[in-house]
Symmetry: D2
Subunit: 338 residues, 4 copies
Amino acid sequence: MIIVMDHRVGDDKIEAVLVRLERLGFQIHLSRGVERTIIGAIGERGHLIGVDLEVMPGVEKVVPILQPYKLASRTFKEEGTVIRVGNLEIGGDTIHVMAGPCAVESREQLLCAAQMVKDAGATILRGGAFKPRTSPYSFHGLEEEGLELLAEAREATGLLIVTEVMDARTLPLVARYTDILQIGARNMQNFFLLREIAKVDKPVVLKRGPSATIEEWLMAAEYIMSGGNYNVILCERGIRSFESYTRNTLDLTSVPVVKYLSHLPVIVDPSHAIGKWRFVPPMAKAALAAGADGLIVEVHPNPVEALCDGPQSLMPEKFAAMMNDLRQVAAVMGRRMP
Amino acid sequence: MIIVMDHRVGDDKIEAVLVRLERLGFQIHLSRGVERTIIGAIGERGHLIGVDLEVMPGVEKVVPILQPYKLASRTFKEEGTVIRVGNLEIGGDTIHVMAGPCAVESREQLLCAAQMVKDAGATILRGGAFKPRTSPYSFHGLEEEGLELLAEAREATGLLIVTEVMDARTLPLVARYTDILQIGARNMQNFFLLREIAKVDKPVVLKRGPSATIEEWLMAAEYIMSGGNYNVILCERGIRSFESYTRNTLDLTSVPVVKYLSHLPVIVDPSHAIGKWRFVPPMAKAALAAGADGLIVEVHPNPVEALCDGPQSLMPEKFAAMMNDLRQVAAVMGRRMP
Amino acid sequence: MIIVMDHRVGDDKIEAVLVRLERLGFQIHLSRGVERTIIGAIGERGHLIGVDLEVMPGVEKVVPILQPYKLASRTFKEEGTVIRVGNLEIGGDTIHVMAGPCAVESREQLLCAAQMVKDAGATILRGGAFKPRTSPYSFHGLEEEGLELLAEAREATGLLIVTEVMDARTLPLVARYTDILQIGARNMQNFFLLREIAKVDKPVVLKRGPSATIEEWLMAAEYIMSGGNYNVILCERGIRSFESYTRNTLDLTSVPVVKYLSHLPVIVDPSHAIGKWRFVPPMAKAALAAGADGLIVEVHPNPVEALCDGPQSLMPEKFAAMMNDLRQVAAVMGRRMP
Amino acid sequence: MIIVMDHRVGDDKIEAVLVRLERLGFQIHLSRGVERTIIGAIGERGHLIGVDLEVMPGVEKVVPILQPYKLASRTFKEEGTVIRVGNLEIGGDTIHVMAGPCAVESREQLLCAAQMVKDAGATILRGGAFKPRTSPYSFHGLEEEGLELLAEAREATGLLIVTEVMDARTLPLVARYTDILQIGARNMQNFFLLREIAKVDKPVVLKRGPSATIEEWLMAAEYIMSGGNYNVILCERGIRSFESYTRNTLDLTSVPVVKYLSHLPVIVDPSHAIGKWRFVPPMAKAALAAGADGLIVEVHPNPVEALCDGPQSLMPEKFAAMMNDLRQVAAVMGRRMP
């Protein structure tokens, strides 16, 4: 940690900071410059709990040097983490695609979607039973009935399932049904939920919050890991920027960055990031080329009307075409798809 | 709602959208232009639950016209809402300042802070008993003990208290102690929590999420109101932008905007928005000049060392000076401070 | 400057950086920690011209400590700068309001607007003769004819004039007519233009770029000052964020921040920042309360139809009402308006 | 264009807007709803020059329907544009990589870099002779001497050259030497420069501004095209967001979006977007997978010390390795590299 002291400050102010740091157990290096005096403090972040050095008179800024996360970092664990779920491995050579409808709407819809995405090569079925919605007047999901349908679709197809948990109270219920828990973007810093999920023995897909820095995202992973659950799969799903043509701005550079900073696997959700179907296939390919370990994609079995029978229902065809392209990109990246 | 159809699209695609809209109960106006065909659809948003028109072939964009919130809007209620809590009125002529430490740390700290902010003119004591922290290794608050200390400080000073509730499970506990519930910025879209708070008979300070648009913020208020709790106090606390000199970017323009769109009272939290004490007093004054109904400010009784006795502890003096300045700004705005 | 070395790096990499820094003339402090090695380098930024330490193997990050601007900083000049133009002083006790139409459209429009804003208390007339427009198909200003009309309005009213210069080639022309030059937000980093303006003996209003940090804004001022023109008036006009209800996000906190970091006067342009007339008066008041030295405001003499005669033309009335309110806010701030 | 009228407004206000629109030559559709009245106006944008409907009393918002650009749009020209320069085609089957140092520093540096990037498969040499720099104290380029060296490198290697033009005055000089002109991100809305470049018979690489929306970027292209120069190559180089780990946020989704909205070729500059060498190769691959027509990449022949002889100078090796990977990604995309 580096403390930069204001140039207009007297020696007593510098002294006060030095005394404080020493009491907190830090080793100190002082460099007096003409315009600024710089204090280097070496010690553990833990010493700083409850301490806010920036309020001390004369302190201009405090620059942290170490990353605030440990368990999630490559410093802690050099080799990439491979997470086993069912008979699949996430983060290994094989790239897995999680696909399915946004929300579980009915038995027919879900079973039809499940079969389609399985046929195209997906290995994990996604579908929301509890839906976070911006409006209180929107559809909020079938809840337990939705979970039962997901379980039935797993039975019928052999796909594993991933579904969102929105609250600590419904966590036991969701965990009973699902193979992989998902924490939505808006809940990335719901610390109560993170700590409860830490106690569950299921892998977790942790979506990046729309205004979360990479560091905050890794800190959210650290919450789960520090509570005992090491099976965290990070999921980039776009951040909020001024560009409004797409719903969010897919920050694909976060993929190689996170793989550099952390040992955890990273997947990408182009559907929620972009919000427009047309641009999902090119960005799914780009995600793999950037080094992603997998994808989570929304597939509408029949985006317009009824279920599984509309002739205009091109979406599953487009998904299958995309999967074929992805297979080739995966090969170029030295990886394979099931 | 306006649906813009791609110019490259055939009549069958336009027809399909028209049929769909009619089935959903919308009235339709069709305008065929040379480059675009535009469909105006008049009806209730409720008709659109679970419907995603943008996936229909040929639909280029869907432009909503009506605001998605009702109960929170000025259209619904013309006159400004005044919220009564204890013997105070928030949103009326009197401007109330909520002040106190970030976290409740000890009996001495809190009682000392409470007395100081009361002497300077604050009417409501703030202090965190449950603290959301980016790091799992940080101090997370005294929890119930902190709530008890807040209650004791209320007893001792006559100040009302406001404190954050982080989770639906601890809501009954927090609600038992506090006068005003606070929903933190990171929980603004924790929809489970919003729906639970809707059932509690206490006013709620609803902080704007760091990446929430004004519309999303009002939708979060709508969640609480549509569940039966109309006593929502909106709180601007800065949004995330590229500028990193301050912790967030205080979007003070949201104050007159929200007062134009909604009848709810609005307060401002300059402390969390800015993150640097030095700039809180000028921005507190600016907030009142922009039309805010109140402020919530962090006051460190002794930001550096021990409690209530450090000679260098200028902070409470600065708070008192700020309160004197605020009184003058309030007068210019035709309002008063207690 | 602090150089943080990757923990995975060998001693030879650290040695290479040390050798490099010494050759560049820096004094060095080395702190070897368990997880990171930190190199403190004290010396002049000038030593780093053309050097990019971050590409050296093993360098994780380079943290600059000193501000990159000198002439614009409070470190260089403690007391606030007061800029004299005509018989006015900007940055002193008196708050000046620059007002007028967006673009000079005709003689009648401009003279009418000038008289109105003068009557309401403005001291400087604004109006664009050269207009930067997002679309090539929009009106680009009357150019020299517009400048002549501005000069005529000055003659008629005694107001000083401020107008935008868009390009180094038209700078001599614009400088011949205007009292104050304005650099638009999109040109804040047009370095050729900055260097040319540095040679002109006229005060400059330097608008903050929509994606410029405070530091970059001060660096743009430094360009002008380092070329010899010390009369720079900074102008906050909103930054780009995800919020789209207003055109930009007025970052009013930049006012006290810039006054802390720099000795230059700061004014605020609420009109361009917000883009909606309704919210200009409250934010103008907030700007003064935050400590601004002045304002620049768009006034439409008749925003709807003809010039100076529409009965529905409330705008100049609203401007006059705003000026009355501002006078009171100025008084509270210990300042005055003419 | 859709005009939404405030629900609190009288019929006279609606009438005034209708009269105004008719005088301007628009055809009108009126839909009176319970909460809002909506006016649809069909006509040419050109009718709106100098008109600001949003200031009319009662107008709540104006929603444009048509894209404001014409020449740059797919509506105007369905098939993708292929730009010929020398014996190369940009936007066709072949993907071209522009590579070279940030700035031309010396004859040795440039010739060495040129040979290296050519050997690795680049076809166009980049290098700055005029450098926009945030600080007035930084190196600003060798100017004409730099241009001569670029020409010499072209002679020696057969590579074409691309270099930035910063100002209308130096445009004739730069245009005399270079094959492709580059407009830097900070100049994307330097409208004087855009209009001058429109008159030059050379292809232009138009970088996206760091806070430019896709629409504004296409409008900048429209400036150049409407002035007569149709050979515009769009270049995504990152936008400004709150994430500060990378210099900017590479918005790779803009690639398929722009290819959908426009017929112009699109290339990507991962170097400036990211600011960290380590992450350039994965994002270059991702760019091709997203559909980019080419890349522009910074290559440091010897990032650390002297020229062409440092043993630790791995960078050109890394560039060559990246080019090999890119060849495979190009093949998967059905394209080729020279």
